[in-house]
């Protein structure tokens, strides 16, 4: 990473040099910079990284990490591809779609071991499995359209078996109002909780159970970034500190939720919802693989399935080969905890 001499002067004037001289720790100018764009806003979904940043775990590894929250319009894949950030956290479907457009990425960790995205149905609609969807009205978010068609196909349904209507990206009101029986896509533990809090019991159908599994929130960089050995070192340190950050979450999800809400990383969070989310989320982030090898581990079989789904839904013309995109080298060196 480049070092700007002017920056050194400025930080000295600011008194940072004084502080670091007193502490004997690495001064601001000696730390390596790394910019990371999160998979979402800094709520409990991104707990491990926020904890690592605020409790100085990255600093202990000599890294000056900047965490950038994700937003609606400019997404993480674009930011990494454009070189605006070093590391991105995003869902595999997007990474694969971009890879089909000749962008070359390297995925070095996968936060979720099971797809946390689901279809949520009103309990009173009686839908507990895909076959029950026949004849019902489904609310489909625009981004979910290709995957919904695939969902139907994989579960023995024709598009003509259901009625669809478009709903907004954050909308749950239409489901609550009873105009639709189910909506797709939702987070498995975010919207369902909110809908139930509004007085409507729901049934959740996680997409991973119905042929659409994916390792959501995968960590990736550009190939050109990864090819430099010094960057692989940096990523190892980053992952090691991040892994340590996640330990508290696996041990006590409730406390993790409290940490996120108390520290006000972002406005608008609700402690009940975050606690519920944390308790559910930990199940989606654990698997036999993580128990054996370590958290954030990558599963090539899931990625292959995701790539096939992306092709089958028409988003890419061919199946993007994912084996070469994944690497467990950083995971192995980072010595991650096993849960």
């Amino acid at each position: 990473m480049k070092r700007n001499p002017l920056r050194r002067l400025k930080s000295a004037a600011g008194g940072v040099a004084l502080l670091s001289a007193a502490c004997g720790a690495a001064s601001a100018a000696d730390m390596t910079k790394l910019s990371v764009v999160l998979g979402y806003i800094p709520n409990v979904e991104m707990y491990g990284l926020e904890y690592a940043l605020h409790e100085g775990l990255y600093k202990a590894e000599g890294l000056d990490v900047t965490l950038i929250p994700a937003g609606q319009g400019v997404n993480q894949v674009q930011m990494v591809a454009a070189g605006v950030v070093d590391v991105g956290i995003d869902n595999p479907e997007g990474i694969i779609a971009a890879a089909a457009k000749d962008e070359s990425f390297k995925v070095f960790a996968g936060q979720f071991q099971k797809q946390p995205i689901a279809m949520t149905c009103r309990k009173d609609s009686g839908v507990t499995k895909p076959a029950d969807l026949k004849g019902k009205t489904i609310g489909v978010k625009t981004n979910a359209e290709p995957y919904f068609k695939l969902f139907l196909a994989k579960n023995g349904l024709e598009p003509s078996d259901v009625t669809t209507t478009a709903i907004g990206p954050n909308d749950i009101s239409v489901l609550i109002a009873g105009r639709i029986a189910c909506e797709i896509t939702t987070f498995a533990f975010n919207e369902p909780r909110l809908i139930e809090a509004a007085g409507v019991p729901v049934t959740v159908l996680p997409l991973g159970d119905y042929g659409l599994n994916a390792q959501a929130d995968s960590y990736f960089v550009k190939n050109s970034f990864f090819d430099k050995p010094e960057n692989q070192e940096i990523l190892t340190k980053f992952l090691r500190a991040t892994g340590k950050g996640w330990v508290g979450f696996y041990k006590d999800p409730k406390a993790a939720a409290k940490y996120v809400v108390d520290n006000h990383f972002v406005d608008g969070l609700d402690i009940d919802q975050q606690t519920f989310q944390a308790a559910q989320q930990v199940k989606y982030m654990s698997s036999p693989l993580t128990a054996e090898k370590g958290i954030l581990w990558l599963d090539p079989a899931i990625w292959r399935q995701t790539a096939e789904n992306v092709k089958a839904s028409g988003v890419t013309p061919d199946v993007v080969p994912t084996d070469g995109m994944l690497t467990t080298s950083i995971l192995e060196k980072a010595d991650l905890p096993k849960f």
Binding site: G73, V74, V77, Q78, A81, A82, G83, G94, A97, A98, K101, D102, E103, V140, T142, N143, E145, P146, T164, T165, A166, I167, G168, P169, N170, D171, S173, V174, A177, R179, V315
Partner: protein, 254 residues
Amino acid sequence: MRLLRVLGPAAVFLAALTIWQAATAYGWVDRLVLPSPISVARLFWTDPGLLAFNAGVTATEAIVGLVAGNVLGLLLAILFVNSPISRRSVLPVATGAQSIPIAAVTPALIIAFGNGMEPKILVTIFLVFFPMLVNAMRGLRSADAEVGELMHNLSASGFQRLWMVRLPAALPFIFTALKFSACSSFVAAIVAEWVASDRGLGHLIVLASSQYRADQVWAAVLICTASSMALVGLLVLTERRAMPWLRLSERDLA
């Protein structure tokens, strides 16, 4: 002079296109966000049906909203000019209503009115109506006080006053508002479609963005721009016919 009118902007436009092509070819801007102009143009050739269908949907929403919103704005402006009490009570409230960020309210509109074209048309009307109201009111009241006195002396009726003095005086203002609305109506329809729609240019932009089909995104943007420009061009032609006196003074000031 006619030649310059066309060549001037055309030259600037071509220069901009060249910079755009270079930017994507040399990688100054990433392909996932800004595709090359050539790939966008190619899309019109390879998939015209997709673009035409969605453009048609958005165009309908935009034009219906445009006409309805402007007519409403003009009528209200005429009403307000003649009735100080209604102006004083409704205009501030209308200003307040205009300040509501309509994009935030669109989801509620969609729940209330369903998911067809109606909410998008309503959003367009909302966005288009107030500029017309403001401008038309200014225009209607800008008529010369002296001419107003003259009409009064001649015992002209309110309607005659409106038709012969106020409306012609308001025309430049009305056309300014019309040109604004020509541009913003397409954008309004598209923003409403972003929220929830299964067809239209806004829908295409959202879907294509998530799949990194940047060429589709920018083709949609291009269509939106071209349509707005076509509308404005139409208005400019109409304006020339409606206000020949203005053209004369403009030419003389060259």
